[in-house]
Amino acid sequence: MKSREHIQKEVDLTLESLEGLQRAETMPFFYTRLMARLEQPEVTVWNRWMAWLAKPAVSLGILLLFLMLNGYLLMNKYQQEDDQVTPGTEYVAQQISYFDNSTP
């Protein structure tokens, strides 16, 4: 087990380890690299969105979602049409039954 004095000494030495620190310097030709960056076409938010949308996983995912939504809407539409047909069907059935009863 380490003594408290030993730990304190290590901590003090570690805290003093930045004494005499020299300033870090950029790599040579920094200005050339900077100018190359300044001359690059600007990446806009629109460009980033388009790049994201162009990914196969994203575009296929959106297509799948679109197809599922379409399917759901079509199913809903048929369901509604079925519901609307019911009164008409009842009417025809009533008419048939009327003629059936009225015929001698």
């Binding site: 290590e10 300033r23 310097e25 920094f30």
Partner: protein
């Protein structure tokens, strides 16, 4: 009368040293003078790089942020009204951009799993645990690496104040200007940073075999 790009200042030994006249250069840059921009970059690139590397603890990220800072200077020099020193403005941009990158890395880490489902390139990024500042003296490298690791665990404002003072050698007064706080607030931040670093390092050395 032609305006000089350099003003001469005397160092501690009384020797005249040339230093770019930044007020004049900034005015020239506002008029679109590329030569003035080059002089500004060459004279201040290491200030920005050293600040960024101290906060980011990664040489590649620091280079990237240094470039971003000067792109911002080039594009937004008109916003610099000269109410503070030009270096203060540069420090502010460097700190803001560095913190933005640190936060974006943290967010990306959190959402790495989700984004991987959408085909993002999430190769594990090399994050050095033992960053060694290139300016550290050879016999202090091991201890400095532990200190930098401890610094990365501080809260943002303590980390900024401590790094500016210890890594970049900025005075308390200028740190106060950069952070927009009082000098006594800076003293307090550095005092708390040291106390927290001491605690982190004590825990580290206690658990060392």
């Amino acid at each position: 009368m032609p305006v000089k790009d350099y003003v001469y200042m005397t160092d501690t030994a009384g020797k005249a040293i040339p230093r770019p006249d930044e007020w004049h250069l900034v005015e020239r840059l506002k008029k679109g003078d590329a030569a003035a921009f080059k002089l500004i970059v060459e004279s201040r690139k290491d200030l920005v790089y050293n600040t960024a590397i101290g906060l980011l603890q990664n040489a590649e990220d620091a280079e990237d942020i240094t470039q971003e800072v000067f792109v911002k200077v080039f594009e937004s020099v008109h916003q610099f009204k000269g109410e503070s020193a030009f270096s203060t403005w540069l420090y502010k941009i460097a700190i803001t951009k560095s913190l933005e990158l640190i936060r974006s890395r943290k967010r990306k880490k959190r959402f790495a799993f989700i984004t991987s489902l959408f085909g993002e390139n999430n190769e594990p990024r090399y994050e050095p645990v033992d960053f060694v500042h290139p300016g550290v003296q050879l016999d202090n490298r091991e201890r400095a690496a532990k200190l930098f690791h401890a610094i990365s665990q501080l809260v943002d404002n303590q980390r900024i104040a401590f790094t500016l003072h210890k890594v970049e050698g900025v005075s308390y007064q200028e740190i106060a200007d950069i952070m927009g706080v009082t000098v006594s607030a800076v003293e307090s931040l550095i005092h708390r940073a040291k106390a927290n670093l001491r605690k982190i390092l004590e825990d580290y050395y206690k658990n060392q075999p």
